[in-house]
Symmetry: C2
Subunit: 291 residues, 2 copies
């Protein structure tokens, strides 16, 4: 196995996701120079101070100088980013991303990059934290984590292989799947839990006895609601971007919840115990427990 | 402050909750001798081997010999336990419990204990784990945790004070509240998360792409679903016992979820961001983060 070495990497958005990508590749010796671009000069300066990036640049400079561009911004900002880099993009530069939804990101790429869309290999690392910003960046964030690539028909196979190899250098395990399937899968395992956890917080804080309830809450509450601390802006974009899949998820979850409520209403303790036993077993058997 | 010392403690149900209570009191030097009763002889034998209890006894013996009886069984079993101990209960013996619901436990106590119900001080420690059995017992389980007592009008204040002092020896912080309020509070902060987490597992495993989804799921899923591993029998009893409060909770949560679904359907990104920001802030401000 030959070691892949990127000359210049540019990271657009140097927070948790982008900063961790930079830190992981630097540690792996997979990159010579790291540029950082983003909205806030102070965040870029912080990323330089932390050693995550070597230099803060504009999007135009990033497009012109980088061999690989990694976009780690809220998905609502992608189309503008693609439009801004398109005219300056090097002929051999590969663009990839860490966006949590893929269909809308691909649409944004087709619209913003135009004929250069073949240079964009869409990706999504299944890793995160409720922590934010460059100081949350961690070279271990992707170790043992799943990364899904959703290649375009226009992509050159060697470019897909390159992006895959880069993620493997970060310690991730990479799979390629269809973008529609991706959006459905993440709607279930990631977006739906966030939606419910946030609304559960909204429900508690807006209801009776909120202070007593929050004081009384224990470790079950703590874990169930942890994800609700995520970035409101990032998650707003995710829900808007993955709206159709989310609405389908909500309708399907409601069916299961209605079935259970019926059992409770009818005093059907046997059904409840069977359901609880299936759920407990499925959770105990979850392959992620081994990680 | 004088140190309370119980002569003989009897624990009915020597699993996580009962075993941890025994272990905490023994470590605090708050007890001379610990008896254990329960359904399964092998579990009692294991508790003796682990040093959680000194002796396995019948319910009748526990009633006759103990100064304090702690019932830590699924709440559906309480009425039978109360009926069995009632005829043998020492005149000065205090009975308390760790049941997760209080109105139905109090009903069971009135029915099973009859005129001796004044000797029963209902309680509920807000601590737990998905682990089960005597080997999961931990003297630190209650340290820093909330314990709610829901005293009866028949209780002698000094008996309530004694139970409170015993929990304080376990490291818990104790509050007294009304049993109706208790059942509403725990329905929100404990039972509802368990219900949703279990049904979310049921939904994933019964739906499309279950294997891919479970493989893809990350740390958000892990935390959100952790409680779903709890004992199916214990949770069945909790949901059945707290049915009215649970049905009210489900109706209220549905209103909040419907409001958010409406916003998503109408592309109301501003409302979604405001809600997500409120939820993130409330979760970040949760007093339990300091524990």
């Amino acid at each position: 196995m030959t070691t892949l070495k990127i000359g210049t990497l540019a990271v657009v958005g140097v927070g948790l996701i982008g900063g961790s990508f930079a830190a992981a590749l630097r540690r792996a010796g997979g990159v010579d120079r790291i540029l950082g671009a983003g909205r806030r000069p102070e965040t870029l300066a912080q990323a330089v101070t932390l050693g995550l990036i070597d230099e803060a640049v504009t999007l135009k400079e990033a497009a012109a100088r980088a061999d690989l561009i990694f976009i780690a911004a809220p998905v609502g900002a992608f189309e503008a980013i693609f439009s801004e880099i398109a005219p300056h993009l090097g002929a051999k530069t590969i663009v990839t991303d860490g966006g949590s939804t893929k269909r809308n990101v691909i649409e944004a790429a087709r619209s913003g990059l135009g004929p250069r869309v073949a240079q964009f290999v869409p990706g999504h690392p299944m890793a995160g934290s409720h922590e934010k910003g460059p100081e949350a960046a961690d070279p271990d964030l992707y170790v043992g984590r799943r990364v899904m690539l959703t290649p375009l028909v226009e992509n050159h196979p060697e470019d897909v292989a390159m992006v895959q190899a880069v993620w493997q250098q970060c310690g991730a395990n990479v799979v390629c799947i269809d973008s529609n399937q991706h959006d459905g899968v993440v709607a279930t395992v990631s977006h739906l839990p966030h939606w419910v956890a946030a609304l559960f917080m909204e429900y508690i804080t807006g209801g009776d006895d909120a202070t007593l309830k929050l004081e009384t809450a224990g470790s079950g509450f703590r874990d169930f609601t942890r994800v609700a601390q995520g970035s409101p802006e990032m998650w707003r974009d995710i829900f808007v971007a993955n709206r159709d899949a989310m609405l389908a998820e909500l309708a399907s979850l409601r069916q299961v919840m209605d079935r259970a409520e019926h059992a409770l209403r009818e005093h059907d303790a046997a059904w409840l115990e069977e359901m609880l036993a299936r759920a407990a077993q499925a959770r105990a058997d979850w392959p992620g427990n081994l990680k």
